[in-house]
Amino acid sequence: MVEYTPTEMMTVSAARALKNDDVCFVGIGMPSAACNLARLTHAPELTLIYESGTIGTKPDVLPLSIGDGELCETAVNTVAVPEMFRYWLQGGKISVGFLGAAQLDKFGNINTTVIGDYDDPKVRLPGGGGAPEIATSCGEVFLVMKQSKRGFVEKIDFVTSLGHGKGGDDRASYGVDTKGPSRLITDLCIMEPHPVGKNFIVTSIHPGVTREDIIENTGWVVEFADEVAETAIPTEKELQVLRELHARTAKAHGDQQ
């Protein structure tokens, strides 16, 4: 029997969402682990792009920042940041944006700016960075985030990056013609937008997780698809590659002082 943690299940599920011919704009943190796991397993030709300007990077360890030297040294090419955002992202050359969030609503709108009021915040978060334009310029967006009532809320405090707006065809009303969030991978399940309403519905539940677990950890009223799949457990290969990647990363980031 293969043993794994909920976080490993999430990372593996997120990695499986990527295809070998995808060109993926990688957010830091959880997305970075998933994207590199995909590259090291089923999608060796996957093109990973980080906003620091590195195109086609193949890091041996996960970067701590989006601009670690490892990313540049292993890239096909490194371009200036204005070129990255203007030609490659805005120019429509990137098929998938992979993002995380601090707060998320059921339409995949993302908050990474503030908890509370913008002018007098309870918690000041880092802000949007590349996300506002990644969310609208990439062909589609995958989201990865641990599920909790605090993070998965009915109404986010600030719309840093557009998902499906108010649902339905609202996204298009902002002049955005890309697909937007098409998959949300959590430590409990996988959700996909309803074809018409565009609100996230649960389409696959990770083994050992109940519908009640998902409902209890979600701040909006959870909807389930008519047919809900059970997510395939991580293979031994996936877990081995992921754990080795994390071990190499810990060693590289911890032993420099």
């Binding site: 620091s52 200036a80 918690v123 802000g127 949007g128 960075g129 955005v176 420099q256």
Partner: protein, 284 residues
């Protein structure tokens, strides 16, 4: 006006004054930390600080009381967490109230590019469906005169001075950047004055690509040789990013007293010559 080689003290004193608008760039790579320390040591106040990722360098300047305003697009300690001095300035107004002007990376990258290009504003496909335009009056939407498409517009960035770090200058004062080049070239060309700190000054650059990222000496104000001057950021080809120090910064910056003690010991009682040892320690 050809670039002059100066001491760091002289370069900062001649290019940065109270109330100026300053950009200190370097996208994770080549962040001019030694120059940031010198601004703190000279007690320069009321600065408008521009930088896409404020990072540890602006956490230090903000905590030390040098900043009146921050223009930025992502304010965290990458892979570690919050910038606690920035966060406390915003949430608790310590050491004083900090005005913020917040953008996205795409907006700032475009705004530097427009500044370098001599344009009053940058136009791009951005901020669609996003809430920042509600809280930042420097984000507007204009209509394309040809297609009618709605486009975001932000003022171009034109700093009084830009400060960056690079790998090399030659004896004539031409500057070479390699690796992740960020927005350094755009930020220098957008500014009235510039300080470039470099790892080393060489006789010539040797065999480099004709397309290498260069700033000719007449496009730069001051050059200062500071080995290790980007630490704990990195200089590709010289030393690695000191990720362990980025992690160590978290508890230092979290506590006012610990922060002030760190600034006293390493900045007020330190100098640019201290950085060479950091370069040695982080060779990989």
């Amino acid at each position: 006006m050809v670039a002059r080689f100066m001491s760091l003290k002289e370069a900062v004193a001649s290019c940065v004054k109270d109330g100026d608008t300053i950009a200190m760039e370097g996208f994770t790579h080549l962040i001019p930390h030694a120059a940031g320390h010198e601004i703190i040591r000279q007690g320069i106040k009321d600065l408008t600080l521009i930088r896409m990722t404020p990072d540890m360098i602006y956490d230090q300047l903000i905590g030390a009381g040098c900043a009146k305003k921050l223009v930025f697009s992502w304010g965290g300690n990458p892979g570690v967490g919050s910038l606690h001095r920035l966060r406390e300035a915003v949430q608790e107004h310590w050491p004083h109230k900090l005005e913020i002007e917040e953008h996205s990376h795409a907006a700032m990258a475009n705004a530097y590019d427009a500044g370098a290009a001599g344009l009053p504003c940058a136009v791009f496909k951005g901020y669609r469906g996003a809430e920042l335009p509600r809280v930042n009056k420097n984000i507007k939407f204009i209509e394309c005169p040809f297609t009618g498409e709605s486009l975001a517009a932000v003022p171009s960035i034109r700093p009084d001075a830009t400060v960056v770090h690079a790998q090399k200058a030659n004896k004539k004062g031409d500057v070479l950047f390699e690796g992740i080049v960020g927005v350094q070239k755009e930020a220098v060309l957008a500014a009235k004055k510039s300080i470039i700190t470099v790892e080393e000054i060489v006789d010539d650059f040797g065999d480099i690509s004709p397309n290498a990222v260069m700033l000719p000496n007449w496009a730069v104000t001051a050059i200062v040789e500071i080995p290790g001057g980007a630490h704990p950021s990195y200089a590709q080809g010289y030393y690695k990013r000191d990720n362990a120090f980025y992690k160590a910064w978290d508890p230092i910056a979290r506590d006012r007293e610990a922060f002030l003690a760190w600034i006293e010991e390493h900045v007020m009682n330190g100098g640019p010559e201290d950085f060479a040892a950091k370069r040695e320690a982080n060779k990989g």
